[in-house]
């Protein structure tokens, strides 16, 4: 559903992402891994419109991978969207969230700390509520249609709070929740924005093994029950290997491997990138192991 092609992002003299191409298939859990500073967060920022890529193309289609000819035709035109295909590099961040329906979480949690957990989830439903409030006019007079929309939003938020086991803390400030709960609340908030693709930046960072297991279950549930595709950055290899269908490995902004968990686990260049040894030595080790 997402096709990233020859994506590059330059910061001054630093090429943080260098000609990266990969696909995210619909219904998959795709992991983007790599050592610190490899450029993973930068890729997320390009996909979600927070950075404008230096070069490259990012095509998003809710219906699954788009026909390459259709993407090319759209690229030649000056528009951003045609037949359900969005060119994300042409869109501002909030429109990507709204029209291309890509939601995300952040490496350093960005909840609305002074608002309650419930409010966080209601703010995420801004679009449908705004439409129901008709320029705030229906809301100001308390029209029944707006009331109904607000109740539906509250219902949805309550449902998500129940799913992440935070129903009893619904009215507490998000900033007062324990770290693990904040991570899950941020994911629930992104889900309340009704995405088709959810991008998670290191969701398991700082979690204990128990919380990691809960998280894995939550991500599976999101995929299976809501049919939302997932793209996640993660350092915890046990999480990555357990839930991913497809892994893309990044090092110094370049893709060094791309495949199933089993393929990645056996890939010598990945081992090298993670252990920081030259390829020849890894080859030697692998040869030794095989013989």
């Amino acid at each position: 559903m997402l096709r990233v092609e020859r994506l590059s992002m330059r910061f001054g003299g630093l090429l943080a992402v260098d000609g990266l191409s990969f696909d995210v298939r619909r219904g998959d859990i795709t992991a983007l891994i790599g050592p610190n500073g490899a450029g993973k967060t930068t890729v997320f920022n390009c996909i979600t419109g927070f950075y404008k890529p230096t070069t490259g193309r990012i095509a998003m289609s809710a219906e699954g991978l788009a026909d390459p000819d259709a993407i090319d035709a759209l690229t030649r035109s000056s528009s951003r969207e045609r037949n359900g295909i969005h060119l994300l590099e042409r869109m501002p961040d909030h429109e990507i969230a709204r029209h291309a329906r890509v939601a995300r979480t952040f490496q350093n949690i960005r909840l609305f700390a002074g608002m309650s957990a419930l409010e966080n989830l209601i703010v995420a439903q801004h679009r449908p509520l705004m439409r129901a409030s008709i320029f705030s006019l229906a809301g100001l007079v308390g029209a029944p249609s707006f009331r109904a929309a607000e109740n539906a939003a509250k219902q949805k938020a309550g449902d998500w709070l129940a799913r992440i086991n935070l129903l009893d803390r619904a009215d507490d400030p998000a900033g007062a929740l324990p770290y693990g709960d904040q991570r899950r609340l941020e994911i629930a908030r992104a889900m309340c924005a009704d995405p088709v693709l959810l991008c998670l930046d290191e969701p398991a960072a700082g979690l204990n093994p128990r919380e990691s297991a809960d998280l894995t279950a939550l991500l599976r549930m999101i995929r299976d029950e809501f049919g939302v595709s997932l793209l996640l950055i993660e350092h915890d290899m046990s999480v990555v290997m357990e839930i991913s269908d497809h892994i893309v490995v990044l090092d110094y902004g370049r893709k060094i491997a791309d495949g199933t968990p089993a393929e990645i686990r056996a890939d010598p260049s990945v081992i090298a990138a993670y252990l920081g040894v030259p390829d020849e030595e890894v080859d030697a080790v692998v040869q030794e192991a095989l013989s």
Binding site: T48, G49, F50, D93, H94, E95, A97, R98, A103, R104, F106, R110, L111, F112, A113, G114, M115, S116, L118, E119, I122, V123, A124, H126, R127, L129, M130, S133, S136, G139, L140, E150, K154, A157, G158, L161, L167, D168, A170, D171, D172, P173, A174, G175, A176, R189, A190, A193
Partner: protein
Amino acid sequence: MAETPVAEHRPASAALAEAARVGLIAGALAFPVLALRAEPDFSNRLVLQPRWSWMLGAAVAGFAGRLLLSLLPPRRPKTAQAAQAKRASRRAAQAFAAFGLGLIFIWPLLVLLALGPGGALKWIDNYGVQILIYVMLGWGLNIVVGLAGLLDLGYVAFYAVGAYSYALLATNYGASFWICLPVAGCLAAFWGVLLGFPVLRLRGDYLAIVTLAFGEIIRIVLINFSALTNGDAGIASIPRATFFGLPFVPGPKGFDAFFGLPFSPIHRVVFLYYLILALALVTNLATLRLRRLPIGRAWEALREDEIACRSLGIDTTKTKLTAFALGAMFGGFAGAFFAARQGFVSPSSFNFTESATILAIVVLGGRGSQIGVAAAAIAIVGGSELLRELDFLKHVFGEDFDPTQYRMLLVGLAMVMMMNWRPRGFVSTREPSIFLGARKQIGGDFVKEGRG
């Protein structure tokens, strides 16, 4: 065996040293302010008269005050009892708010009964109408600063736009107050959007500086565009607000004759009082309502984290512009009222001090809190007016003591102390806009102040 808290009991020598330090600072601060007094001599030249005893008094007061503070028992840590006390104090605050609102409603009648029409005029006009104008301005700015977290130092510009809109429309076209009021609000909102556009990408300090400049630009345009605004001289004899067409004038066509009352200027002032009260309450109700709508929640979310807002598909540009426009609109209403009350507007009414006062009201009250802002407006505007009444101090300091000279000094001192005591203002807690269970307040430590 319970351990005695060592850190909390400081030796007397340390307390003495600290008190001496504070005393020295107080004395040093008092030197330029109190010890040096400039008096005109016979040939009208200023001569310095030292008043060393005053300086000594300040130093001693500082020393004694600090020492007293050290002797007080240290603050107890929070316990369950403290939480209960907090709930009780919240109930007390609600009762106080209800009482305050009731008092505000009957205030003119109360002073009329107590002082008669002659004495009541000042108390309704200077204390009532004047304070309520600032309450309304504070509430208007609260949308921009308190809810959306956008630091606006040029709010007075919209007050000016509203005032001049009414002044020009009423003097040139004879339009009535009730037609001009919405027009003034719309024009101010329009200027709010105009200001909003260039500053959308600015944050924090930069936003503050540009809005400050905007306020000054509007004032300077009012001074220099004399063909329209009559420059520094201002616009005089603006038609006063009428009681739905009935002017407050003596004679058969006036309000008093219509209702068969003897003519009295107090009727107009009482009418103005209830008019600004109604306008302020409309501002308050609209803000409270908006806070519970998606747009209001988006403002607060914007204050908390702009990047997260954008990741959720919220158009932060539009969100900021609506905050600027609505805040400006209420400022415009207040401005139109101001012009109709004074009958005269000039650029000198709209200088930076006004913006600073309104911002101080919002910050002192507690950003985002409607009741806090109202209390701060009463404290700052009412307090600085009250300080004019300090004639009794002459009995303490002698006949040649002029209390009004120390008015602003005392206001400043009170504000410094207040901000030390409650850095986040009178009301630092925030009530969520929607609940699943019981109503709970959110502590001020979690609520962000916004970075522009």
